[in-house]
């Protein structure tokens, strides 16, 4: 860990912050990412459907549309290079009547203006062909839409940046900023961090972080969304995201069905205004509505058990929505302080747009400085070997060479001890149960950690952690209160 002056400090370890860090690591810059929580992807990027949007659902001419289109072109290659699970599944937006059909036409037309490839209006027969379990009269089929793991993508971006010399510091929330003419001195729990540029990617807290450098000229309001997760058996019934046309009134949530790369299907997100940026509670009313609407669209899902529920909030720019729709992405250098760049309101299609937003930020820096390419920049990551996806020969070879490949820690997702060991040793020091879960899939199956958690606690203890220091998600979320008998 270096002291001294960084060229760029990125605040916020979500998909946008990590994409910015990774993009900047192409250049000879001293880089640091400061994340306030105990792991990456624990804020907005956690409550994310993981959809690679093709770009037909954004206003033409907007920054959203431009970065969505550019991001789409980059993201599939980038995900492959980084070894992140993803799939170009296609997507159906489904309509049931003439009104809906007109809406689909409007979407297609909008998509064409945005340069979205592969959009077609299809009929009921085609829908049945593509997705036998889905009900609908017409649909917009978008062949370039895909799914990706949002947290694995975020972590891979950061790890790639790290391999290329960037630093990543967790539990390093920025609480104050001393803005000098030539640098910013950021106060963190571990001490001050100085940087010539600051890129604020703090998601829901972007306005508060912007406010560290004088009154922010934007405000972020949380717009909450709840999800339900269906058992991976649902993945046999649905292979691509399916959305109904947005409802005309509030009688329905217009909720989305999104398969994931590993099999479980997401229902949601819902959309309601929230008071509290950290509100991640699941509620009875919304859970019931998510199920009711999902099972109306795809009745066969009704027999698949719910295995998980979660919620998060989209960072909405307050007061900047127009008659044309929600506010555009905000990416702007602070008027008061040059070289402090704020990103605000990066909600959907933020994940898809992230690589393009990162290039945009690099462009803002490059316009004022000479960015020299880093020698030996590594654009890819080997991608972690997953026991669950290896073939018999590979499994046998690994188990023979390293018995930790022969020991199953997660019975539902077939994760080996070798993978857990690898995850515990991650370069950022994230060692909460959720951090291990994100990196291995332990705890994401139907038993939700019932089998693996005691084993992982044992592994962490073997790594030297005291039992009372093992947390679910950092902070005071300790799992146990020490030993019963010393």
């Amino acid at each position: 860990m270096s002291a001294g002056l960084f060229d760029v400090a990125v605040i916020g370890g979500g998909v946008v912050g990590c994409a910015v860090l990774r993009e900047l690591s192409r250049y000879r810059l001293r880089l640091v990412l400061l994340e306030r929580r105990s792991d990456l992807a624990e804020g907005v990027s956690k409550g994310n459907s993981g959809v690679i949007h093709a770009g037909f659902n954004v206003r033409p001419g907007s920054l959203k549309a431009r970065t969505n289109a550019a991001g789409l072109r980059a993201i599939y290659g980038l995900a492959s290079a980084l070894g992140v699970p993803h799939k170009k599944t296609g997507k159906l937006v489904v309509a049931f009547d003439e009104d809906g059909r007109r809406h689909l036409e409007a979407l297609r037309s909008q998509g064409e203006r945005n340069g979205t490839p592969g959009l077609d209006i299809v009929d009921a027969a085609a829908i049945r062909n593509l997705e036998p379990e889905v009900r609908g009269a017409w649909a917009l089929f978008s062949s370039w839409t895909g799914v990706i793991s949002p947290y694995e993508f975020t972590i891979a971006l950061a790890e790639n940046a790290w391999r290329n010399g960037a630093e990543v510091r967790l539990e390093s929330g920025v609480t104050a900023a001393d803005c000098r003419p030539d640098r910013f001195i950021l106060e963190t729990p571990a001490g001050p961090v100085s940087a010539r540029w600051v890129v604020n990617c703090a998601g829901l807290q972007a306005d508060e972080v912007a406010g560290l450098a004088g009154p922010a000229d934007f405000r972020i309001r949380p717009f909450k969304g709840e999800y339900l997760v269906l058992d991976k058996a649902a993945g046999d019934l649905l292979r691509m995201p399916v959305y109904p046309v947005p409802p005309r009134d509030e009688s329905s949530l217009g909720i989305h069905l999104t398969p994931t790369t590993e099999g479980p299907v997401l229902l949601g997100p819902s959309g309601e205004t929230a008071e509290d940026k950290d509100d991640a509670r699941s509620t009875r009313g919304i859970m019931d509505r998510l199920k009711a609407e999902a099972f109306r669209l795809v009745p066969a899902l009704g027999r698949i058990p719910v295995i998980h529920a979660y919620a998060g909030s989209r960072p909405k720019l307050d007061g900047l929505a127009t008659a044309d729709g929600p506010a555009d992405f905000l990416v702007a250098e602070s008027r008061r302080h040059p070289r402090w760049i704020n990103l605000g309101g990066i909600e959907s299609p933020g994940l898809t747009a992230a690589p393009a937003l990162a290039e945009h930020v690099a462009g803002l820096i490059g316009a004022r400085e000479d960015l020299r390419p880093r020698e030996g920049f590594e654009p890819g990551l080997p991608g972690r070997p997953r026991f669950a996806r290896l073939d018999d020969a590979d499994r046998a070879a690994r188990a023979a060479a390293d018995p930790d490949w022969g020991e199953m820690v997660c019975r539902c997702e077939h994760v080996s001890r070798a993978e857990v060991r690898e995850a515990v040793g991650n370069p950022f020091g994230a060692r909460s149960m959720d951090a291990i879960k994100r990196r291995t899939r332990c705890g994401m199956g139907r038993c939700q950690g019932g089998f693996c958690t005691p084993r992982i606690i044992g592994i962490l203890q073997a790594e030297g952690l005291k039992p009372e220091d093992i947390t679910k998600k950092g902070g005071s979320s300790r799992l146990v209160f020490g030993r019963i008998k010393p």
Binding site: Q461, A462, R483, K485
Partner: protein, 117 residues
């Protein structure tokens, strides 16, 4: 004072009513004498077995478990547990090993139930 309890001795599961008045016991609802004895013991002198787990010394956090070789008066549960909490048997521990003989004068032993070698 009226106590209600279900007799556990046979599948009939008679629901018993036990009235304690002035040191005497009246039992109602039983259909045999064993039920009478059961109720009397449960109300006047309830007895219990118990189990606990304890760390085994000389291992990295492995535990063994213990139970009693017989039942003890219910009011002895926590005093016996306190004695058990002091135990730190060293490896090897074998199923059946007597870790405390005649614990607190109850006539009952604390025995190991899990072999740790």
């Amino acid at each position: 004072m009226i106590d209600r309890l279900t007799c556990l001795l046979c599948p009939l599961g008679c629901e018993l009513e036990v009235e304690t008045a002035g040191g005497r016991l009246e039992v109602r609802g039983h259909q045999c004498d064993k039920g009478l004895d059961f109720a009397s013991e449960e109300i006047l002198r309830p007895k219990r077995n118990l189990a606990a787990s304890i760390p085994v010394a000389g291992t990295d956090g492995r535990t063994t478990a213990v139970r009693l070789s017989g039942r003890v008066p219910r009011e002895m549960i926590f005093p016996v547990l306190a004695e058990i909490a002091k135990l730190r048997p060293a490896i090897p521990v074998r199923r059946g090993d007597v870790l405390i003989r005649d614990v607190l004068g109850t006539g009952v032993d604390v025995i190991a139930t899990r072999t740790v070698v």
